[in-house]
């Protein structure tokens, strides 16, 4: 049951990205292209998602625990460190240049466009590299 719900959750996420047009990098880049072929659709995707998650999260986290787990794993940090800003800034540059972020890239992967295959390969490498650097850094403090 737990596995089935998780699978369904991943499937809904992917279908949502396809339906909203966000698995198309041109649409994402057009959202960021305010002075060119601007397409405000992405704002509607975020709006639609947040309109569901904001009341939804509030409602489900009123329970003492999730249905298939012992605790809610919610981020608790509230500080603004340089790492957060630097990471988000680097992420944004890549997002703008490619029009892909991790969810849409994985959703578009089976469509097997050459650019998507390359993007996913370097994205996974970049993630592993980032983890490696962070782990080394933390071990040397």
């Amino acid at each position: 049951m737990k596995n089935l719900v998780t699978l369904l959750s991943g499937l809904m996420f992917g279908l949502g990205l396809l339906l909203s047009g966000m698995a198309n990098p041109a649409k994402v880049q057009n959202f960021l292209d305010l002075f060119g072929t601007w397409d405000p659709s992405l704002a509607f995707v975020m709006g639609g998602a947040i309109a569901v998650t904001m009341p939804g999260f509030w409602l489900v986290t009123r329970r003492t625990k999730p249905f298939f787990n012992d605790v809610f794993h919610l981020p608790t940090r509230t500080d603004f460190d340089a790492r957060l800003i630097t990471g988000a800034a680097i992420f944004g540059v890549g997002w703008g240049l490619g029009g892909f972020c991790p969810g849409p890239a994985m959703t578009a992967l089976p469509l097997a466009a050459e650019g998507t295959l390359i993007f996913v390969a370097t994205m996974l490498t970049g993630m592993a590299a980032s983890k490696y650097v962070l782990q080394r850094r933390d071990n040397h403090v």
């Binding site: 992917g14 659709s41 240049l97 970049g126």
Partner: protein, 144 residues
């Protein structure tokens, strides 16, 4: 390249993404952050061990396009750049940056903002800004 403004479909698709995130929170108590789900499966593994549920979620995500094609009889509209070195660079930056900054569009942009997390709001404003600058330079100064 121009794309059609799709307010209704985008709103509906967004709602589906939101419903998926709420489902994941209700059942596993986890944030639907795709960069986190992916990176936890990658080496080097440390304290945060890889989650089998992450892999199952990913399989669901990968099944979406084939199921879409089965239902609609055609592939979803998509236009991916043919500039492969550019996409290689973009992928590396997205991968490195999302782990370094603890999240991407889903974790910070949707889930974090919904929880009114200050960190996520700052992260989202930051990547929107640098994304805007990247597209501005790419399209209007380098004619990409």
């Amino acid at each position: 390249m121009e794309t059609e403004f799709t307010p209704l479909l985008s709103l509906l698709g967004g709602g589906l993404i939101g419903a998926s995130a709420v489902l994941l929170m209700a059942t596993l108590g986890r944030i639907a952050g795709i960069s986190g789900i992916l990176s936890r499966m990658l080496p080097p593994t440390g304290k945060d061990q890889s989650l089998p549920q992450g892999l199952i979620f990913l399989i669901g995500l990968l099944l979406a396009a084939p199921i879409w094609i089965a239902i609609n009889g055609q592939a979803p509209l998509q236009s991916v750049s043919k500039n492969l070195p550019l996409l290689a660079l973009a992928g590396a930056l997205v991968g490195f940056g999302s782990v370094w900054g603890n999240g991407c569009t889903s974790g910070h942009g949707v889930c974090g903002i919904s929880r009114l997390s200050g960190r996520s709001i700052v992260a989202t404003l930051t990547f929107m800004s640098t994304g805007f600058i990247a597209v501005l330079l790419l399209r209007h100064f380098f004619g990409g």
